[in-house]
């Protein structure tokens, strides 16, 4: 009976190790903080994605694509939003790599996110590929 219990324990251990491998840790306080800041900023950025003023870059960030689509008075604000968004995204990629014990994964995480942001972008948003902007 005791042996069975031990075997069951080992199975549990192996299963949890396998589970940990198929899921990345994204629930640390630092990551949650960045996620909620980015979520609230998105309400401000969304109209600029839709108008084509701001687009998604190939390296997992955002950039000003067409400054003329933004009224002159609003340009500094938009540039501020873009800078904050890129800083948050950089911290997000770094924190996920760190939370999973592999800081060297940061670049891989960034390129995975870059693909997924683009894949899940709404139709009509602009996406950068090979230096050129394309409308999705």
């Amino acid at each position: 009976m005791k042996r069975l219990q031990r075997i069951a324990m080992l199975c549990l251990l192996i299963a949890s190790a396998a589970w940990a491998q198929s899921n990345l840790e994204i629930n640390t306080p630092a990551i949650s903080q960045i996620r909620s800041t980015m979520q609230s900023r998105h309400a401000q950025l969304a109209p600029y994605y839709a108008s084509g003023a701001v687009g998604l870059t190939a390296d997992g960030g955002v950039a000003l694509r067409d400054a003329t689509a933004v009224p002159l008075a609003q340009r500094p604000a938009v540039q501020g939003l873009i800078a904050q968004e890129n800083a948050d995204r950089a911290s997000l990629y770094r924190e996920i790599a760190r939370a999973n014990g592999h800081p060297e994964w940061e670049a891989d995480i960034r390129s995975t996110f870059a693909q997924r942001w683009i894949e899940r972008a709404q139709a009509g948003w602009y996406i950068q590929s090979g230096g050129a902007w394309n409308k999705k």
Binding site: L13, A20, R35, R116
Partner: protein
């Protein structure tokens, strides 16, 4: 009873295998994590982006 050490060795080897594999970047897990975060940031689950008020404020 003398089967225990073998069982232990086997499971130790299995566990070590998992740890070794984990050195490589888990691309599928990263995609899943990215999708979960993107869902939250872009509010894709609710399908109700709050763009209407900010669009009204644009011009």
């Amino acid at each position: 009873m003398n089967r225990m050490p073998i069982a232990l060795l086997c499971s130790a080897a299995l566990l070590a295998g998992c740890v070794t594999i984990n050195i490589y970047f888990p691309a599928a897990a990263a995609e899943k994590a990215a999708d979960r975060i993107i869902d939250g940031v872009w509010q894709l689950q609710q399908d109700k982006p709050a763009t209407a008020p900010s669009e009204g404020a644009k011009p």
